[in-house]
Every structure is written in C-alpha cells, then in structure tokens.
C-alpha cells in the first residue's frame, strides 16, 4: 500500500481551506493579507518545482546527482543561516558550509549505514528526504546558536576582553560564549524531543504511516530521525561556530566588525 494520490478536487479543496485564515486576517484587519497570499504562492511553486526535480533525481538515482542535491541544500541553508544571523557571507560562508556539511553528513551516513542498512549510502529515496529533515531542523538551531555566539561577545565585549587580558587564548576566551550559544540553540530541539507524540505527531512518522507502514514502524523511524536531528544540531552548531571563529575574529583576538551586516 502507498499513499493515496490527491485528486484535482482534493487540491482545490486543500486551497479552499485557506478561506478560514484569510477570513480571520481580513476580519482582524491585519495588514499581511498580501504577504500571506504571496507566501502561499511561493510555497506552492517552490514545492511543485522540488517535486518535479525529485521525480527526475529519484528516477536517475545517481550517486553524484544525489550528492550534488545535498550540496545545493547545504549551500542554501548556509546562506539562509548567515542572513538570519545578520552576518555577511564573505568570510563566513566557507567555514559554515564545511560545518554544515560535516555536521549533516555524520548522522545522515550513520542513519543510512546502521539504521536503514543500505548498501548504497547515497540512495536518492532515503538520502534526500532524511538529509533534508536533518538539515531543515538544524537550520533554526544554527541561526539561534551562531547569532547568540557573536551577539553575546559583541554586547558583552568587556567580559570577553577581560578574559583575553587575564591570559586566555582566543579559544579559551570564546569558550563560555560557545557553551551558552550551544545551550540556547539546542533548547528548542530538546523541548520538541521531550513533548513529541504528546503535542504533535511529527512529519516523518505521518509520512511513514501514510506510506502504508504500521504505526510501530513509523514510531521507530521517528525515534531514529529525532536522534539523528539532535546529533546533527549539536554537531552543526559546534562545528559552525568553531570554524567561523577564525574568520569572525582578528589575529589580535578581537571581533572582526566586517562580519556584521
């Protein structure tokens, strides 16, 4: 059994549901009706295009094409995180890309090799959706973590300078900020892990159930993906900050003002 396709009427009914939120927006006279319409159109177009691309990619199932797809996803996430943090691309895009690449690849390949036990670690049907889930969930945490790290040092410059003055190396002086950024960034992921199943039925589990699997299989998939996401989140934040540190600071150990927008 596979997921039931949505018919033309079904699609029309799906968009018809928007009458309710749009009705509320108009009733509340919120000035975001146009913005909301644009967001819905963008979402639909983007996802339709992705659907078309994925059909081709799945049909080809070529390791290099799949790898390229992952690299494109990471590149888009890289830009999106830096934009979200108010940081310039120039010097930070490269090190952050590397952090995202390694931080995503480790749980993804582990998932493919030891949980799914795939011979082909780059099988499109698995590596693309699972890679996308890990990366997509890391993105929000990475924005919080990297922004917190640089902003805390910027706003608490005196405390940072005092550590340098007391004899700390750049790594030692930035360590308390790295730890507090990591703490703040993983807090939402931890909250999600702690309440999953009670508050929401997560996307992957829903997908597996719709795909015809029994709920227990879906649950096991969900547990596995949550652990992979958590691992990816911790790794991408830690590697992202550590790799960006060199470009984000001058050789004197001071924050490089050119990295901020």
């Amino acid at each position: 059994m596979t997921a039931e396709p949505i018919s033309g009427w079904g699609i029309a009914a799906m968009y018809a549901l928007l009458v309710i939120p749009f009705g509320v927006l108009l009733w509340a006279k919120l000035p975001i009706v146009g913005q909301t319409a644009l967001a819905v159109v963008r979402m639909s177009v983007q996802l339709l295009f992705v659907g078309l691309y994925l059909q081709v990619v799945f049909r080809l199932n070529n390791a290099w094409v799949n790898l390229l797809w992952l690299v494109v996803m990471i590149t888009v996430a890289d830009g999106s995180i830096l934009r979200g943090c108010g940081l310039r691309f120039g010097k930070l895009a490269g090190p952050l890309f590397l952090g995202l690449l390694v931080g995503t690849a480790v749980p993804l390949l582990y998932f493919m090799a030891f949980i799914l036990r795939r011979d082909n670690l780059l099988d499109a049907q698995y590596v693309i959706p699972i890679g996308g889930m890990i990366l997509g969930n890391c993105l929000r945490a990475d924005v919080i973590g990297i922004r917190t790290f640089f902003q805390r040092i910027r706003s608490g410059e005196k405390g940072y300078f005092q550590r340098l003055a007391d004899g700390a190396s750049a790594a030692e002086a930035t360590r308390p900020y790295l730890i507090s950024a990591l703490h703040e960034a993983i807090a939402p992921t931890l909250a999600t892990i702690a309440t999953i199943g009670l508050v929401s039925l997560p996307g992957m589990m829903t997908g597996v159930i719709l795909g015809g699997a029994d709920p227990m299989t879906a649950i096991l998939y969900q547990i596995a993906i949550m652990i992979a996401i958590f691992t990816g989140t911790v790794l991408t934040i830690l590697l992202g900050i550590r790799l960006c540190r060199k470009a984000g600071f001058t050789r004197w150990g001071t924050l490089n003002p050119d990295i901020f927008r």
Binding site: G156, K158, Q162, D166, E172, P176, W252, T254
Partner: protein, 215 residues
Amino acid sequence: MTCIETDNLTVTFDSRPLWRGLRLRVERGRRVRIAGPSGCGKSTLLKCLMGFVPGFSGTIRIERQELDAESVWTLRRKLAYLAQEPQLGTGTVLSRLREPFGYRHNAGMRFDREKLDQWLDYYHLPRGIVAHDLATLSGGEKQRLAVISMIMLERTIFLLDEPVSALDARSRRQFVRMFQEHPDWTAVFVSHDESLAELADETVDLAAVQNGGLR
C-alpha cells in the same frame, strides 16, 4: 626600564582621529594618570595598549617588545587590565576567580586560596562571598573582586580604567595604599576620582594631543 612606550600612536574612530601622534613613556614603578574630557579616547588608549584596538597606527612597545598580532598574546600576560564597570560573567565568585588559572598560558601559576583570603580581608569582603553567585553582588563588591582577580595574577604593569568608581571611601583608601605598598608596580590609569590623584607621578592630557600635539 621603560615598561610602556608609544610613538606616533594614532587611533581613528569613524574616520575621525581620537588623537594623533601620541608619544608616551612610562618607566617601571611610575604611575601615569590619563586625563581629558569625556569622549577624548582615554579608555580607548588603555584598550589600545592591551591590543584590543587593532586598527591603530604608530608603535606600541611593552617592555621594549613591539606590540603586534603575534606578540600581543605574550605581552598581554605582562599586563593587568581592569575595565570600567567590569563584567565578571556568570557563575560563582570562586569559579570566576579560578578561571584564569585554568588558561594554558597561565599554566605555571597556582591558584593560592590563602592569598585570596588575605585580599578579601584587605578589601573588607567576607570570605564566604566566594560561594555567592556573581549576579547577586553589588557594584562595589564586583569592582573589589575584579581588583582582587587582577592582583591574583601577579602582574606588575597595570592598565586601569576608573578602578575605584564603584568603591566606597574606605575601599578607595585601601586601593591607593595597595599601590603605595608596591613601589615596583607600574600603572597607567584613567580616573575622575580625586582620591587617586595622589597616586599619579604625572598626568597626560589627551585633549592636548587630540590635534596632533606631542607630549
């Protein structure tokens, strides 16, 4: 021995020079007070000597060694720095006071608990304060602890930015006495407090060098 020397030191802020061509000589054991109106760059001068203002032009030498991006990591260990209204961070007092002794560059130093108690007594702080959370301390307690933290590192060249601004008269007197009892300690300090005036062997008016004048 000259502890601090600057030649032709210029720092610009928003394309405007804060001062230009500053020449400073501070011999061992001398105490130099930096004066000038607000915004003339007194705190920036201290930061500059610490290597926290990389964009300066001219030369800075600490104990005859030129300050640059390489040497700054060694030279900072010769200097004791106290910022205006110091930020001590979070955690307990003891963890913060111990922290610098865990740094790789301070590996040869030992955290001396007995000496800490002596300094707490000297600054009229209860010994039990070490168990307190930094967030619960008053401004005066924080400043005294920042002074103690600085002293514990046993450095002899001090760069002090309003070091007694949050201290009461008794603690201010202790601060002055501490320097009087250590004639080998060198200091460059910024202070609007007249009780520190008696410490100064000389005063440098930064306003006089703002427009290119030489001291």
